[in-house]
């Protein structure tokens, strides 16, 4: 008997970097566990959803039906999660998201077979909103790609921010040239930019923002825009810019220090949140398998063990809410250049302590 | 100058030309005659290396031009060797202007220049900036002739070059060809105007279903003036 874990993440194209980190983090944990969970061998199957819903669905089916996995770890993107959510949970297989945390499944559609080890998507921007409020920022410029996640961020931002959003701009997904948006920023009287521009979009925005000289006039606050997946390309242009999330490589706990060192030694790049969450997911599953003594047939017991989250998270405090989304701390981060010439985000201050998302109330679980 | 021996060709595997031989000497005019679909154009295509372009192939025989072997050569090589083609159905370059059609493939080294061609066909000069696709049928035909002349060929090949030309122009062309011949130009011509060909050509070949069924020179034809009508079923 062995434990089967299927991972379904995006590995194709530029967003593949995120899935790659997730996979690497999980694998590192598995290695540290000696390839075993609860004393049993682990078979780890990785599938690429190619960022196409129908591929995600097909791969999920293949993990469930053909490979009969015990856990599906996925996905990175919310729209992939929506595609596989129903078939996976309906088959009574545990679906653990290492990154995507849409509001859709946090409230009334929460599910006993679904866990999230990252955050509820809006929370990073709620953190920024809270920080901006506390820092006394009165006028904010909001910029995000025109898709659901972008709109969720705006909503998250406004949750704690009572100042004025002087402009709320949405660019096409995959936007290339930000000249027009930058001109609008320059013309506005906003004190700071709040932006959500994942992947290559973030790289382009940061470079063009810096080149236009705006960095000297406006603060740059963001989520998913300057992180360890984009910093190798943004480099000096991003130094000093702010991010917000649940963790940073320099978080000062012994486990985390060991993790970052081991990770960099093994993979040769600085781990980002995706890697951390991949690692934590593996540790979470391991803890649950151990708790039930390797017997995965009693789903209720497994669920209870998962929910207990009896492991030491790299980010310190970690527990699950009633909706199986985490309760954890959130930080304001800032990009810095390390002594070895690499770039990473570093913690500036803790904004939320043991923060839970706002959708949990409507979850019947 | 041009020697074709036992040339055979087929379209998509179906034979269309069988052992056709033919020659054109320096300063000579030769004709290819035959009813529709008998293989005149195919002979010219096979000689010019144009069969692959229309889904066909040369399956046998030899083509020599000025002593060089051109059998199976790519058509640009045949043309460069000094053969200027006025193809059946005009085939002017539709998106090019009249003048561009004339100069695009022009080669120096002979009597034909833009000015010469324009004097020959004043109509072309009037329309020189117009896209060739918008020319009238006859104007396109003039253009196709002019284009071939602009390559200053040693052998001029005309495949139904007078199709669609007004009687006046057609007469002028026959006159001009006679003049060219006197100046030493070699010509291979396919045309339905048998009367004109008779007075112009030195030798004749008649094709039927891809086979040569009669050949002879101007004297032979004079001796048996009905032969053409016989083979052309008139």
């Amino acid at each position: 008997e062995s434990i089967k874990v299927g991972m379904l993440v995006t590995l194709s194209g530029p967003p593949g970097a995120l899935g790659g980190q997730s996979r690497d983090g999980f694998q590192l944990a598995l290695e540290e566990l000696g390839g075993k969970m609860g004393g049993q061998d682990v078979e780890f199957i990785v599938e690429d959803d190619e960022l196409k819903p129908e591929v995600a669905l097909s791969k999920a089916n293949s993990l469930i039906e053909r490979d009969s996995v015990d856990f599906v770890v996925g996905t990175i993107f919310s729209n992939m999660l929506a595609a596989v959510f129903k078939p996976v949970t309906q088959s009574e297989t545990f679906l653990i998201s290492p990154n995507a945390g849409p509001s859709t499944f946090a409230g009334k559609n929460c599910n006993p077979y679904f866990f999230v080890t990252s955050y509820q998507n809006n929370q990073n921007f709620e953190t920024l909103g809270k920080y901006a409020e506390a820092a006394g920022i009165k006028k904010a410029f909001f910029l995000a790609p025109n898709y659901q996640a972008g709109r969720d961020q705006a909503e998250g931002f406004r949750k704690h921010f009572t100042g004025e959003v002087v402009e709320e701009l949405y660019t096409p997904l995959g936007h290339k040239d930000f000249s027009a948006e930058i001109a609008q920023m320059a013309a506005s009287d906003a004190e700071a930019l709040f932006t959500f521009m994942p992947g290559g979009m973030g790289v382009r925005l940061v470079k063009q923002f810096r080149a236009a000289g705006l960095a000297d006039r406006m603060k740059f606050y963001s989520a998913f825009t300057v992180d360890e997946t984009t910093l190798p390309a943004q480099q000096d242009d991003a130094v000093g810019f702010f991010g917000a999330t649940n963790w940073a490589p320099n978080l000062d706990t012994p486990q985390n220090k060991a993790f970052v060192a081991a990770f960099e030694a093994k993979y040769g790049y600085v781990p980002g949140g995706y890697a951390m969450q991949g690692y934590d997911t593996a540790m979470l599953i391991n803890a649950a398998v151990e708790a039930v003594g390797g017997d995965l047939s009693d789903k209720d017991a497994v669920r209870a063990a998962l929910k207990a989250a009896d492991f030491t998270s790299l980010r310190g405090d970690f527990s699950f809410n009633n909706n199986h989304y985490p309760v954890q701390d959130f930080y304001l981060l800032q990009v810095a250049k390390r002594d070895d010439g690499k770039y990473q985000t570093e913690i500036v201050e803790k904004v939320f302590d043991d923060y839970a998302d706002g959708f949990a109330e409507s979850c019947p679980m | 100058m041009l020697v074709i021996e036992d040339l055979s060709a087929s379209y998509a595997g179906a034979p269309a030309l069988f052992d056709v031989s033919l020659s054109v000497g320096e300063g000579e005019v030769a004709t290819l005659m035959g009813r529709n679909g008998m293989g005149k154009t195919t002979t010219i295509r096979a000689m010019m290396g144009m069969m692959p372009g229309v889904g066909g192939a040369v399956t046998g025989g030899r083509v020599q031009f000025k002593g060089a072997d051109l059998t199976g050569a790519a058509s640009y090589r045949v043309a460069k060797a000094g053969i200027g083609l006025v193809p059946e159905g005009r085939q002017v370059f539709p998106t090019l202007s009249v003048e561009e059609n004339l100069i695009a493939t022009a080669r120096d080294g002979g009597r034909w220049s833009l000015g010469e061609v324009y004097t020959f066909f004043p109509r072309l000069q009037e329309r020189k900036t117009q896209a060739a696709a918008q020319l009238s049928g006859g104007e396109q035909q003039m253009l196709a002739i002019g284009r071939a002349l602009m390559t200053n060929p040693t052998l001029l090949v005309l495949d139904e070059a007078t199709e669609g030309l007004a009687p006046l122009i057609r007469a002028e062309i026959w006159e001009r060809l006679a003049e060219l011949k006197r100046a030493g130009q070699s010509i291979l011509v396919v045309d339905k105007d048998v009367t004109a060909l008779r007075s112009l050509a030195d030798r004749h070949v008649i094709l039927e279903k891809g086979h040569v069924v009669w050949r002879g020179d101007a004297k032979d034809l004079e001796a048996d003036p009905d032969v053409v009508d016989r083979y052309l079923h008139l």
Partner: protein, 250 residues
């Protein structure tokens, strides 16, 4: 003679500075063959394009079968019984010879918005097609793919298509061009028989054909009709001789 089947009244058409049709008034009466001749680029094809609806005249009207068709689409004119041939061969190259002509027959026999039933098996269409092919001497080639016909054979097919439309009037643009002498001769015979039933507007540079067929000849030069009359008059007209026929024509 009864009223004309086709009548052009004061047609004008120019391409930029070039006047291709200059106040052309012309008609075609039942039972006649009206030949239209003129130098290359005189505007004959342009005129036919306007008659058939491919081009829109700048001014003037076109009447066909008692109707003003100036603004009608080409297919509407064809439905009224106008059939034309193209100077530059226009066939369906991927169809067999038979299917090319059968399609023409189909156009004049009932609706083609029929989604079921094999068109190829409709004997009425095939018979009509074979009839037209026989007229032009192409029946032996009926199963050949039209695109692989020789040039002259394509010209014959072009004509067979027009014939198979069972038209009320035929507008032919250089039907003899590219045809061999034998084929031309045969065609002349056919058209001579046909014209009593189907009037023909004939554009042609083959003077043998024109003078063998035409009841009336009009001469177009620079878009204008410079002469119109019986063949003999035209042949003798000095202006026509110098502009078009050449001095030794006769």
């Amino acid at each position: 003679m009864s009223s004309p089947i086709l009548r052009l009244a004061g047609l004008h058409k120019s391409f930029g500075a070039l006047v291709a049709t200059d106040n052309v008034t012309l008609d075609l009466s039942p039972g006649e063959c009206h030949a239209l001749i003129g130098p290359n680029g005189a505007g004959k094809t342009t005129l036919i394009h306007q008659i058939s609806g491919v081009l829109k005249p700048d001014a003037g009207r076109i009447f066909f079968a008692e109707q003003d068709v100036t603004d009608a689409a080409p297919h509407e004119r064809a439905q009224l019984g106008m059939a034309r041939s193209f100077q530059i061969t226009s066939i369906i190259p991927g169809f067999t010879v038979l299917e090319n002509v059968a399609l023409a027959a189909q156009a004049r026999s009932g609706s083609s918005f029929r989604f079921f039933g094999r068109a190829k098996a409709e004997t009425a269409l095939n018979d009509a097609a074979i009839q037209a092919l026989t007229i032009v001497g192409l029946e032996a080639r009926r199963d050949t793919v039209a695109g692989s016909l020789s040039h002259g054979e394509k010209r014959s097919l072009e004509l067979a298509i027009a014939l198979a439309m069972a038209p009320k009037a035929l507008i032919l643009d250089e039907p003899m061009a590219g045809m061999g002498r034998e084929e031309s001769a045969r065609l002349i015979t056919t058209l001579r028989e046909l014209k009593s039933r189907v009037p023909i507007l004939l554009v042609e540079h083959d003077m043998e054909a024109v003078f063998a067929l035409a009841d009336r000849v009009s001469v177009l030069v620079y878009g204008r009709v410079i002469a119109s009359g019986a063949p003999e008059e035209i042949r003798a007209d000095p202006e026509v001789r110098s502009a078009y026929l050449g001095e030794d024509a006769a």
